[in-house]
Symmetry: C2
Subunit: 211 residues, 2 copies
Amino acid sequence: MKVTDLTHSIYSEMPVYPGTEQPIFQKANTLEKDGFQEAKITMYSHTGTHIDAPAHMLKNGLYLDDFEIDQFIGKAMIIDFSKVKTPYMELDQLRPYEEKIKSVDFIILKTGWSKYWGKPQYYENFPSLTEEAAHWLSGFKLKGIGIDAISVDDMKTATFAVHKLFLKKDILIIENLTNLESIDNEDFIISIMPLKTKHADGSPVRAFSIT
Amino acid sequence: MKVTDLTHSIYSEMPVYPGTEQPIFQKANTLEKDGFQEAKITMYSHTGTHIDAPAHMLKNGLYLDDFEIDQFIGKAMIIDFSKVKTPYMELDQLRPYEEKIKSVDFIILKTGWSKYWGKPQYYENFPSLTEEAAHWLSGFKLKGIGIDAISVDDMKTATFAVHKLFLKKDILIIENLTNLESIDNEDFIISIMPLKTKHADGSPVRAFSIT
C-alpha cells in the first residue's frame, strides 16, 4: 500500500481565495503553564486543499454532513491537461475517456498549476472547464471532481457556473490539490475525508491517494 | 470496501477537554452577499475525535507535520475492555494479544465510554491504562494507540504519564473515537489523517475504518 499526500500545508501566510481570510494560529495551552500544548486555530471552511458541499453555492444544497461517509473515498482517475496549451478544458478533450470515467467515482483534473502555489500566477490563467464540458461530466455518477488549481471555474467569471453544474448533481468539488505528479498508477483510491462539523458548507481535508 | 465513520460531530456545544474551549462557528460569506457560503471556524487543535503529536506533551517532541503520511493509516485491531469490570486496563489483560499486536500498526482500546458523549459521565471512571500496561505496549512498533474515551490517562492524575510513555516512542494517541461497535472484522485498516497545519501539536481528524 503506497500512500501519497495530495495536500498543501496550512500556515498563516498561505494563499487563500480572494475575499476570504488567511488562517490564524494562537497558542492556547503551553507546556509551561498547562503541562500540554494546544493551538487555537481560526480558519475558513474552504482553506487550502478543501472540498465544496452543494450548500456552498446552492440555496437548498446538501451540507457535507448530509452525505454518507462513502461519498468521501473511492476509485479515481487523473485526466492530464498539464501539457495541453489551451486555456480551457473542453468536451472534445474529455470524450476519449468516456468508458474509463464510467468506472470511477472521482475525476481529478491535472492542470499543473500547483507549482505556482504561493505566487501571483496561481490565480491566473489556469485551465478551467467549459460549461459544456462540465455539463457532460456532471452526467456521470461521480462522487467528486478535483483540480490542482484554486477553482474549477474561470476566475474571470463571477457566476460559478461550473461549480453549480456539479453541485446540483451532488458531485463534490475538491480544489487546491497538489503533488499529482507523484501518482504513477492509472487506477488509485482517493480519500478526501472532511472534518465532521455540523452544517459544513465545505472543509479543509487531508487528501491522499492509495495505490 | 466497507467504510465506517469513527468520529464524533464537531458543534458549538460539544464536550471538550477541561481547560480548553468549545469551537466557534461564524458566518463569513453568505449566498446573499457573496454568492457563496463559507464559515469561519475557531477550534482547538485537540477538538473532538483528534490525535496527539509528541509535541503536545514533550519539550522536544515531533509535530504531526514531522511524520511521513504513512504514520496516519495502517492495520489495526480492537482490544475490548467494554465488558471488563475494572477501572484499569492492565498488563495481564493485554498479554494474551501479544502475537496479534506484533502484526498491527494501531491498537484501539474499546472502553464503551463513547455512549456517554455529552454527559457528565463521559469524564468519569472510564477504564484507563496502568503505567505498567502502557510501558509494555510502548515497546511494540506501533504507529498509534486509540481510545473511545476522553484520555488514555486517568483524569484524576495530572502527570499524563501514559501519554508521555507513548509519545516518547513517537506513538500517536487518538482520543474520543466512537462507533467502534460497528467494526465487526478482526482485521481492518484505520485512517486518522490530520489537517496539514504547520507545527501541529495535534489535529481534529475524521477517523474511519476500512474493512
